[in-house]
Amino acid sequence: MTEKNVVTAIHDTLHDEMAADDRVVVLGEDIAVRGGVFRVTQGFLDEFGEERVIDTPLAEAGIIGLAVGMALHGLLPVAEIEFADFIHPAFDQMVSEVARMRYRSNGDFGLPMVVRAPWGGGVHGALYHSQSIEAFYGHIPGIKVVVPSTPADASGMLRSAIKDPDPVLFLEHKRTYRLIKGDVPDEPFEVPIGKADVKREGDDLTAVSYGLSLHLCLEAASRLQDEHGVSVEVVDVRTISPLDAETILASVRKTGKAMVVYEDNRTYGAGAEIAATIAEECLFDLDGPIVRLGGPDVPAMGFASNLEQAFLLDADLIAERMLQLARF
């Protein structure tokens, strides 16, 4: 085991997968000479060469479309969208092409490709470097959408994503990159896509979350245990689509109370789907209303520190709502 932060875990895993299989190529803006704006591909150009580490023109639909072509012809492309906010020009490629290639060809063609994108706020990213995009793509059958939030999960799920025969949108919360540290196994390992994970066991209520919010939930849960003796179970969604309802529902059935916490705008966010699933499947196991805690329904967070903080959830608010639910 080695302690790493999230961005180092992603760098090291991508590096090892490139070293192990010359079908793996990386492409995106500023990823070669610059090594990526977050340094995920630092040193790759020197080690793997310009044929495998491709600085692309500034054109996101093109990046995804090129990756489609590469995946159709024997390569395993890992495309980087510099900020998730910039993926929107590639929406047509993602929805019309990436998600539908296998389905529309009746299984004849597949796309073993990964699209990596740093998402989320808390780094003064303002309107166009802070967005949550998981709900757009969670809605589209044919793409797997993953949101690992710890160094070990990021490493294990990236390896799974590269080996997956289907397209995976791999979302990395940029605030966790250097904030969150943890042990990562030294030998190659995989964390399965489509499996949620109980990050903290508890009995009184279940908090379901992912991304930076997951860590805020863990902090709030710890505080509630210490200050109020309330035992909170925290489930890390890890995969937005396909959603692991089984793990989530098992936890809710055990605790009888459910809270869904996510950074995205509250309305039509991934948390809405999770809350609906809980309501459909275990209404009669519930001892209180499902609580949905999300971002405000404004277009984006602001640049000013206080505007950004006003948008984002924090551990205080989450702890307060957890206590309310626990006492319901």
């Binding site: 190529v25 044929e51 479309g65 019309s96 044919g142």
Partner: protein, 339 residues
């Protein structure tokens, strides 16, 4: 500025044998007969949607002919009946698609007709949004070059596609990396109803190639041998590592955009009739007769022999099994190697 191919090339100079010419002519006739049959079936209520090819047979056969089945990659668009015939698709398979049958090789009846695809034949599946396949073609060419394959990618589209961002993004990348690819624009002057002057401020799509650092060539799309010559040069260039070419074949479609379109709202009948005087099949027949390769009887025989063959395959396709609705949920994700 783009080069314009003006001289009438002789087939000997192009390296084509009389047998090649007869086979090219037969393919053009097959495409035309498929079209006529498809519209007949549409009027009979047996084919809900038809995308016609008539008028484009010359540029399609000319530009597809220099590529090799099984080695090169075909990235067609919906009008490319003759391109997929040359890639190895049979009329039977095309009609399986028209009737949305279970064995339709492109999609098993999921896609609209003329949305081609076959991994076995190297024909890349495409969607309905225009020009999304252009970056795919560039990515395939990149992979072929990376894997040091001796493969060339042919990529076809209409002039309307050249307005889309994805078209620019694909050609730009192909130019930067000098990829083994030939871009073929079948310019029929209308993107459904929008005429070329409202699509672009230039007369020749091929001029755009200058912006990507590779040659652009304008060719008479109704002259199959001129198209063949331009493509042969472009394919040789691509195969030898010199990079892409943009070929613009000026042509015309004789029928509406699809069976659901009414082109009388945007094209005069005089204009359509005038274009039919440049029918690529009639022109090629004249060339063949002038060259002494085929006489009138031989030409007539091609039509007479091909029609019953096409009709037989229509019947076969019509009687094939429909898709099973219980398969609706299949192939969203990988189901195993035999899935």
């Amino acid at each position: 500025m783009a080069t314009r191919v003006t001289t009438e090339p002789s087939h000997e100079a192009l390296g084509l044998s009389p047998d090649d010419l007869r086979a090219m002519y037969r393919t053009m006739v097959t495409a035309r007969l498929i079209d006529e049959a498809a519209f007949r079936l549409n009027r009979q209520g047996k084919a809900p949607f038809v995308v016609p090819v008539s008028g484009h047979e010359g540029c399609q056969v000319g530009t597809a002919w220099p590529l090799r089945q099984g080695q090169d990659i075909w990235v067609p668009y919906y009008r490319d009946v003759a391109v997929v015939l040359i890639a190895g698709m049979t009329p039977y398979e095309i009609f399986l698609g028209l009737f949305a049958k279970a064995d339709d090789p492109a999609s098993g009846g999921r896609q609209m007709p003329s949305h081609w695809g076959s991994r076995r034949l190297g024909i890349i599946s495409h969607s309905s949004p225009i020009a999304t396949q252009i970056p795919h073609a560039a990515g395939i060419a990149y992979a072929a070059k990376y894997r040091k394959e001796d493969a060339v990618v042919g990529c076809w589209f209409g002039e309307g596609a050249t307005s889309a961002g994805a078209w620019h993004e694909g050609l730009n990348f192909a130019g930067i990396h000098r990829l083994p690819i030939v871009f073929v624009c079948e310019n029929n002057r209308y993107a459904i109803s929008v005429a070329q002057p409202m699509q672009m401020a230039i007369a020749n799509v091929a001029d755009r190639a200058a912006g990507y650092g590779f040659p652009g060539v304008v060719v008479d799309g109704n002259d199959v041998l001129a198209c063949y010559g331009a493509m042969k040069t472009a394919v040789e260039r691509a195969r030898s590592g010199e990079g892409p070419t943009l070929i613009e074949a000026k042509t015309y479609r004789f029928f509406p955009h699809t069976s659901d379109d009414d082109d009388r709202s945007y094209r005069s009948r005089e204009e359509v009739d005038e274009a039919k005087n440049q029918d690529p099949i009639t022109r090629f027949a004249t060339t063949l007769k002038d060259a002494g390769v085929m006489d009138d009887a031989a030409i007539e025989a091609v039509w007479a022999e091909t029609k019953p063959k096409v009709d037989e395959q229509i019947d076969q396709a019509w009687n094939a099994a429909d898709p099973d609705p219980s398969t609706l949920g299949r192939h969203v994700f990988f189901e195993g190697d035999d899935g």
